[in-house]
Symmetry: C2
Subunit: 414 residues, 2 copies
Amino acid sequence: MSDEMIRVTYRIECPGSVEAMAEKIASDQSTGTFTALPGETDAVRKRCAARVERIMPLEPAAYPGFPTDVPGPYNRADAVIAFPIEAIGTDIAALMTVAIGGVFAASGLTGVRVMDIDLPPSWACHPGPQFGIAGSRRLMGVAEGPMIASIIKPSLGLTPEETAEVVAELCAAGVDFIKDDEKMMNPGYAPLEARVDAIMPVIEAHAQKTGKRVMYAFGISSADPDRMMRNHDYVAAHGGNAAVVNINSIGHGGMSFLRKRSQLCLHAHRNGWDILTRHPALGLEFRAYQKIWRLLGVDQFQINGIAAKYWEPDDSFVKSFHDVMTPIFSEADRPLPVVCSGQWGGQAVETFERTGRTLDLMYLGGGGIHGHPMGATAGVRAIRQAWDAAAAGLSLDEMARDHPELRASLDKWG
Amino acid sequence: MSDEMIRVTYRIECPGSVEAMAEKIASDQSTGTFTALPGETDAVRKRCAARVERIMPLEPAAYPGFPTDVPGPYNRADAVIAFPIEAIGTDIAALMTVAIGGVFAASGLTGVRVMDIDLPPSWACHPGPQFGIAGSRRLMGVAEGPMIASIIKPSLGLTPEETAEVVAELCAAGVDFIKDDEKMMNPGYAPLEARVDAIMPVIEAHAQKTGKRVMYAFGISSADPDRMMRNHDYVAAHGGNAAVVNINSIGHGGMSFLRKRSQLCLHAHRNGWDILTRHPALGLEFRAYQKIWRLLGVDQFQINGIAAKYWEPDDSFVKSFHDVMTPIFSEADRPLPVVCSGQWGGQAVETFERTGRTLDLMYLGGGGIHGHPMGATAGVRAIRQAWDAAAAGLSLDEMARDHPELRASLDKWG
């Protein structure tokens, strides 16, 4: 019997005593019930009871996370609770159930947020990314610098043939990577197989002509893992090397099943994550959430960007970037961070400066490439110029002086 | 090309115009991006654009769902958005991604809650429950009346042999159904296979002796569907006929995979659901959520109860009960409602009166059976007496006059 512990940090908020609430959570999530029971001996408790290890007080909140009639202020603290590995094992479903899922049901809370999960060495049994940063670079043939990516636009509504035209344009424009919009899966007007049939010859022809094999990530997600594997196999059999996976929509089981059998580089879209994280007093911090999906095998992780078109503040994106770049057990479990949403190059310098001056990232422009006033090729060039500026320590305006594509982007979006 | 529509009702809250926000959601979730694009033609829009069909205004909210610096009040309305089936198809991952997941990311919202999903006839392709209400009755041999159930207590910490002793006691006490706590999966001190080996002979011996085969639901959940199927197969091969499935922890993919191959009656625990639903301005209403899991194949659905020990108000439980009892496409897609959490019989009359006077339910007592002052047999008897009172139109006090077990329950918990 191992004495390893899984440590979970909860941000607890309640009108009463946070310490008592932390003790209640530790009890509820192990041996507790609502009345004293004859069988609940000290021996039982010792074997698998969770233990509050540390309480770090925070300023009280004026407004509650969950609405309540109980007047504030609402006490807050971060509490570290340790769960014996003996009680949870190494199964992600067990971790989610014991240490995460049940906690949100506790009465008396006005807020609870899982801030981090500290996993012991036995959890290194999970597969993690198959390709990650190094594999992504190898497959795209990009030895250094950021990987410049785009997405099919409009997101939905194009036939396979229309999509292939957009792919041809983006390949000619010089991108390293193209993806289906996450909402593009297997619709009647553009089924996956027809998209593969139309798109892969374009990728292949571009590779033959230029030596550059652009990575195309097809949306293979299905709530039915058998269907998803057929999608995967079709992509792989036709020369594809990547897939967009909507991780929350397929769930832990779908991701685990896919990763074990996958030949493709798995590009994760986390749509639906926002409901788990957007209210700062509730849900899961990205730091905790992303560990689970990395262990399950995400190779590339979409994490928004500076000045994203969604709700997420820049500081949150910067933290997310550092989170995915921090090893859980080793550097190999780091996915490639995918910086995206409203990106057009104008955010390159700030992104570089705030994310540890790394070029190990994918930078994804949608409208920022398709909508460039001089066309998509200029859009890609402008983004590369912006990253060259970042790496050289120049401002965008300095770089734009003799780079008309970047100049045009700055004029349109700057 | 079918002209079926999927209609989703969103409760939208924002400081600005709710109508404009509904239009933005419809656009973002189909063809939109942040800048005007040459390819986005009217033809594309027509093929798959979502459409706001109806706006039902609500009173503004004084406090925002998601915290914001923008002063209130916050406008609110229910908006029905119709998505062409052509854009989504019948895949649950596509529905989650297009119509649900992405919506929570929209900037400018202070709240959004998916209230309901109206699915067109083509969605009847999903398997739904294999056993449901009728199958559960058949397997338990309970032709009429509520199915009385219990759970192993303490939840965690018992060895397989200790667990088998509790099972023997509960069988002797006269329950129809016993389950592992949802947190009991495959821990080191009580692995699933050892629990099956210890428990099934007790179930079998009781059946031999009394003719009554108690349904035991083993916790087979795993984030790895292969592992979960091995768990399933082990239970089935050893005479088990039910399993506890932690639906959020295994995800849509895990559930779909299991259902297609399952011989067991699948008892769903929704731990983690609370974070999706507890804040009334955010997340998913149970009405919407439960439809997805029913289509995926849940046979028995835990939905708390009156005076539950968790946060959920009674009104919410009552709505949930009606939700699961309302056919999606036919009566066969209704799971057995499992009334649970802090139940000891005292809630039977109110439950009966408020849920449509039905006895098609499972009533699950944990501490309410194990902790009965006269022992577990008396605990089960007290619960049956309480339900007899409900069905006969008597009050609990009237029934308790000549039923000492119920009397003792009322004295302890009433």
